[in-house]
Symmetry: C2
Subunit: 271 residues, 2 copies
């Protein structure tokens, strides 16, 4: 096993590698950009007895490489949340050229998960810890709930909304601030400061598109921000109340969590 | 049974009505506008051992009204084809007010079929025979095949296309003409003349949207027209060749059938 040098390699890869008698094969770290329709999954992360994106990809990688491996992702999206530019990484001893992983894996994956690009990564590359910027989109479709073509891809909402006030509230979220009030419990993080570099609404026909870019996001932060801006849009409070919510650092001051199906992880950037 | 006057009533409704001892109940014809995501269905029409839109709706109507009924539709869409404004009709002896059928049925239907509106119809109303105009849309997404969010809702295509030539070809389809060359075999129709009142392409970002309106459509006519216009877009032949195809009345002269997932029945009008 001395020839295998790779940080954070799961034990079972090494065991299997040893068992297969291929200790001399080089471990390589692969990075992939993937997109997925989260409608049919219980989120990204592996959970017992649940159909998740991670489990689906890991099981197809096992078929492809002949050994188990663990993937890490830039963002662990919740059930029903989508990705158009999620970044993942994993280690393998398979001798497949890195750029060929996309086609090889796509031929095995179901049509609701696609690899857009695969490449070699540095041995210490971590898609989440090294991400410098992430962008999320949230779509609100201005139509009756339950419309067929948006049921899994947007939050259908016909309420009268003051988009100008929502825009003003969004503007107040930009900057390095403490977003504790927008963090769902159970995340385990200690530092709630994040740098939001973009936060705005666009109206495109019947679609209200929310776009937010930051150096990182807290658990359910985007959906909690959208829920809060919707309450401002309904006139429940003024846009300036955003500053009080941020100062209060109290989850109860912010709005309800917007439903998952409107949320898309759009892209992840690395310095 | 003398009290029941309703054209084209299936026998089994009458039998069941008789059996239930409700001969005195009035039969009413209900008209509905529905939308559906055709991805999970083997088309509209009931077939043995197949999950179809018609079967799904008829089984929920049986639960709701307590008696079997047969629905008729303005357009019998194929497997994978969608509808945003399909019109259907059926007869019932249930005393539910016509406008209430939409909510009552929606509470039972799966989320990929929605009733947008229900109302009382004349006893001789037939959604297909009496339609004066129908509009279909076809969406082409200018991206690699297999992209996750369009896989069921557009034809993904990255070929270099001369949209101006496709537009010119579309223009030549407008008018009262014989569309036999665009009709798939097995339809059983004798009259291939149809009046096309609108036929054009729009470019909306990465989407190529084809819109066609006519007093009626032949079997697979829209998909065969789209396939033919795509061949013109690739430069396989000039737009004027459309006139030769129409004159030739030969299916072999027209292009291949475009895939179903890009097609939407948008609306149906009645004089």
């Amino acid at each position: 096993m001395d020839g295998l040098v790779c940080s954070k390699t799961p034990d079972r890869i090494e065991t299997r590698v040893g068992f297969m008698g291929v200790e001399s094969r080089k471990m390589q770290r692969i990075r992939m950009i993937i997109e997925y329709d989260g409608s049919g999954y219980h989120g990204f992360q592996v959970q017992e007895n649940a159909h998740t994106i991670q489990r689906e990809i890991e099981s197809k990688l096992l078929q492809l490489t002949g050994h188990p491996t663990r993937i890490t992702a830039a963002g662990r999206t919740d059930a029903g949340v989508h990705a158009r530019g999620q970044v993942i990484a994993f280690d393998t001893v398979a001798t497949i050229p890195p750029f060929r992983f996309s086609a090889a894996l796509n031929s095995r994956l179901p049509p609701d998960i696609r690899v857009l690009e695969s490449s070699a990564a540095a041995g210490d590359f971590h898609p989440r810890f090294q991400a410098s910027k992430k962008t999320y989109s949230y779509l609100i479709y201005r139509s009756q709930p339950g419309r067929v073509f948006f049921r899994n891809y947007a939050f259908c909402n016909t309420e009268l909304l003051d988009v100008k006030a929502m825009q003003e509230g969004a503007r107040l979220l930009v900057g390095r601030q403490n977003f504790k009030a927008f963090c769902a419990s159970g995340s385990g993080v200690k530092n709630f400061e994040r740098q939001v570099t973009k936060c705005l609404w666009e109206e495109i026909g019947d679609i209200l598109h929310f776009c937010i870019e930051a150096d990182g996001f807290l658990y359910k932060m985007v959906r909690n921000i959208v829920g809060t801006l919707l309450e401002i849009g309904r006139g429940d409070y003024d846009p300036e109340y955003i500053q009080k919510i941020i100062a209060g650092q109290d989850r109860n001051m912010a709005g309800v969590t917007a439903p998952p199906q409107g949320l898309y992880l759009m892209n992840v950037r690395y310095e």
